[in-house]
Symmetry: C2
Subunit: 497 residues, 2 copies
């Protein structure tokens, strides 16, 4: 019997092929970051460029455009229609921009990112600007073209690559509200914590013992080591494919909490990936919903769960087993350690409370940069003013630990930063919903029983993949679209409670 | 100015693209063998099938055939003509067989190899035969078609995939001659060694210390760790790409010499790959010449060099440093250990002398199998007779350690086995030539100076890649085509001298 959906079927086959190429690309990226010797870099770049070209060719094949049109008129069920929606998103992302502009942008970011690696340690803002202006120029041109096509603001068009459907119009009130209470909360919490006695763990902490502890905790978090690995890379990340998730962390012998919390963070990403519905793999509808939803999983693990007093009480004996006993390993001291609020210059080292300030500052600057309100030269002054206002820090002249600290700008990842704080907000919202759905949640965590928590995330987030828009997903999971009140309530309960 | 060789230029670009796909394939294979968790197998199989399909499509593109014809009439220099010759080889290998036959063969070998993994430990010859008959059927059909096309014997056509230009007509006299003296030499050596006192090293030998020793020896052998790695896999191999060579070994704590010699063997393969001319990479002319030449490099390292008394004298202190001192680590005892002759059932565990007997037996059987002189059912009787005649062993009823022991037959790699012994012969020939060209060679090895040896191999073998046919390569390197007298002289000097 002939299929009644031949165009859709053809699309499904094409996207399965893309999925296989994506597999090779993901493993080659992991290999490059985790195990490749330096001498392999040039050959790897050539091979990765080849697979990128093949994927771009597949996505810009005119037959794909025809099939997308034809499939829209076929008798698809709701699931197929959701998959078609995501296919369309992927197609538009690949076809929206002229090839020459894409190449010009890649050249500019590649040059800027490469030089930035030396310029950051050298505090060389002027040198950075020389390359960064071209990055901003091509990003603005991309934003302009995308925004005209989609009828949205230029910055919205860039943010849509990471967070489909999110707009400045929704984000601005969220962040404006945050600005009204966050700096005050930080002051209040710092005053309360001033008298706390916090014992620092005394090293050294051997790398092998740290790694074994990370693996033990990841097993407790039900990361499936039959479908994934933990390795080491300079910049920790979650990569690989859902059937074989590659997480990385890094170890310093003087301190173990950063790498442990890092591994827990990546495990949140990893379980989302491992939990994507296997039956849909290869189809765009099987992809993770968005970067904010992805961060909501890593932060559910790292912030909501790992800083839970019940979790820390269970973690303490594992830490003692790994490194021997110390007074600093008492659960209440561990809690004070991981909830210590201390404004600092570096985003990735920031505590749970001040992290959002780093994000708001970057959003404010990059939004105005993309929409032409400011020039790249204006960034340092805005940076200094923002850090003084939000965190009370003097950053003048320190570019290395200022606007040069993140890889996002040299790589033109404009629109990504908001996802971190949106993820923290969603994570608080999921936990509020879970506490409503699962009255025994906290008692379960106290008892070391994480199955109900993971069952909820599996059912409401992981298994849903891209079946729904982000708003639909949030409503189905928690009864409402993104509601930042849960985030504020969580922070106030944890830090003032 | 327009190129005067447009077809050749187009070919060069196509093969560079193939080279990039081969890079991704090689890294994915290494990953699968060395680090992939079991749960990733199915997804990896899909991705590897996709890249194989892409490579096959590229090699069977009609435009490639047209360009090959057109390039033959272009004003190419000698180097370009050699590259064109190798392009033609690759093209013929991909285009010679109908797609349906290739798929039927892949299905048969995949089923047979998969079941063999259980059947070998279960000694299940009857179960193996059920699948193996289809493997032999499709291999015979391939051999028939290839032989008609190329005007050679069916077995020659299969052997040509691994050892271009080698034929039964050349091989049969070599092996017939071997048969006249090898069994007698084995007897003679065993009688001489009967009185030897050989001390066995006493373990345990911790894996980390073994690994460190392997790395130290590989550094001495000038393996470039900036362009390669050493890892662990069940079946040791040399993989990756020339800029990033991935070697594997495996460790048992009860014994260290096997893994050390294994690492030295793979280092021979690895240095050949690392030594392939970088300027030609991406072109077929840059490939290793053949499997026999590849084995001649691993055996130059493992047999010629690593069993050299001067090398062992330098190795002994490294072994002592790794594991502490033992009487068994005295250089003369190490020499007795690694030159001990002992007929055994397993090819991969065989000593230098009896190894060739295993190869000759397999060649004899598979040649007659492919050319229809015998049926798969006849193998055990021939196996038993051959092992009795060549090595004086009774193998009746023991299929696991008999015809089921190698992966080559379930994988239809008919024509590969001879390369091992051809490689041993070439290795002896290279060392004879080196001793003529470099009169201080042995004194240099005694003094730990391996630079002249590596310089010779670099110049005469590695840098030549596929610039010449195998015969031309041998003549340029050693003044003559393959001459098995060097192999016999080497064995007699080492074991009777």
């Amino acid at each position: 019997m002939a299929s009644s959906t031949p165009a859709y079927d053809q699309l499904a086959r094409s996207f399965t092929r893309l999925h296989h190429l994506d597999h090779l690309q993901s493993i080659a990226y992991w290999d490059q970051a985790a195990v490749m010797p330096a001498g392999g870099a040039e050959a790897r770049a050539g091979a990765l460029a080849e697979v990128a070209t093949l994927m771009h060719q597949a996505r810009t094949d005119p037959a794909l455009a025809q099939a997308l049109s034809a499939a829209a008129g076929e008798p698809l069920d709701d699931f197929q229609r959701a998959n078609l929606r995501e296919m369309g998103r992927e197609w538009r992302a690949a076809n929206a921009l002229p090839e020459a502009l894409v190449q010009r942008s890649q050249l500019a970011t590649s040059r800027c990112e490469h030089a930035w690696r030396q310029q950051r340690p050298a505090n060389d803002w002027a040198g950075f600007l020389d390359n960064f202006r071209a990055v901003v120029d091509t990003a603005r041109e991309q934003a302009q073209r995308l925004s005209q096509q989609a009828g949205v603001r230029p910055y919205d068009a860039l943010m849509d690559r990471f967070e489909p459907g999110m707009t400045c119009a929704r984000l601005d009130p969220l962040f404006a509200d945050l600005r009204t209470w966050l700096p005050g909360l930080v002051q209040q919490v710092r005053a309360r914590q001033r008298q706390d006695v916090v014992l620092q763990p005394q090293g050294p902490f051997p790398v092998e013992a740290q790694r074994a502890l990370c693996v033990q905790v990841m097993q407790w978090l039900q990361f499936d080591f039959n479908a994934g690995r933990l390795d080491v890379s300079t910049h920790p990340f979650a990569g690989g494919v859902p059937e074989d998730v590659r997480l990385t962390t890094r170890y310093e012998t003087g301190e173990f909490i950063t790498s442990l919390l890092g591994a827990i963070h990546e495990t949140g990403h990893g379980r989302y990936e491992q939990g994507r519905p296997r039956a849909w793999l290869g189809q765009p509808v099987s992809q993770a919903r968005s970067m904010a939803i992805h961060e909501s999983q890593s932060l559910s693990f790292e912030m909501q769960l790992a800083r839970h007093p019940g979790f820390l009480a269970r973690l303490a004996p594992m830490i003692r087993q790994a490194f021997g006993d110390q007074p600093a390993f008492a659960p209440d001291n561990l809690l004070r350690l991981v909830t210590r609020v201390q404004p600092g210059l570096i985003r990735v080292d920031a505590d749970e409370l001040t992290y959002a300030a780093h994000v708001m500052l970057r959003y404010d600057i990059e939004r105005r940069l993309i929409e032409g309100e400011i020039a790249p030269d204006d960034i340092p002054a805005l940076w200094d003013a923002g850090m003084a206002e939000l965190l009370g820090l003097d950053t003048r002249g320190n570019f290395s630990d200022g606007p040069l600290q993140d890889v996002h700008w040299p790589e033109a990842m404009f629109g990504y930063f908001p996802c971190y704080t949106l993820g923290a907000m969603y994570a608080a919202q999921w936990f509020a919903a879970m506490r409503r759905d699962l009255p025994g949640l906290d008692a379960g965590i106290d008892a070391g029983d994480l199955a109900p928590l993971f069952g909820w995330l599996q059912q409401h987030i992981w298994q849903q993949a891209s079946r729904w828009t982000t708003d639909e997903l949030a409503v189905r999971a928690s009864g409402e679209v993104l509601n930042p009140a849960h985030y504020r309530a969580h922070l106030e309960a944890r830090y003032l409670g």
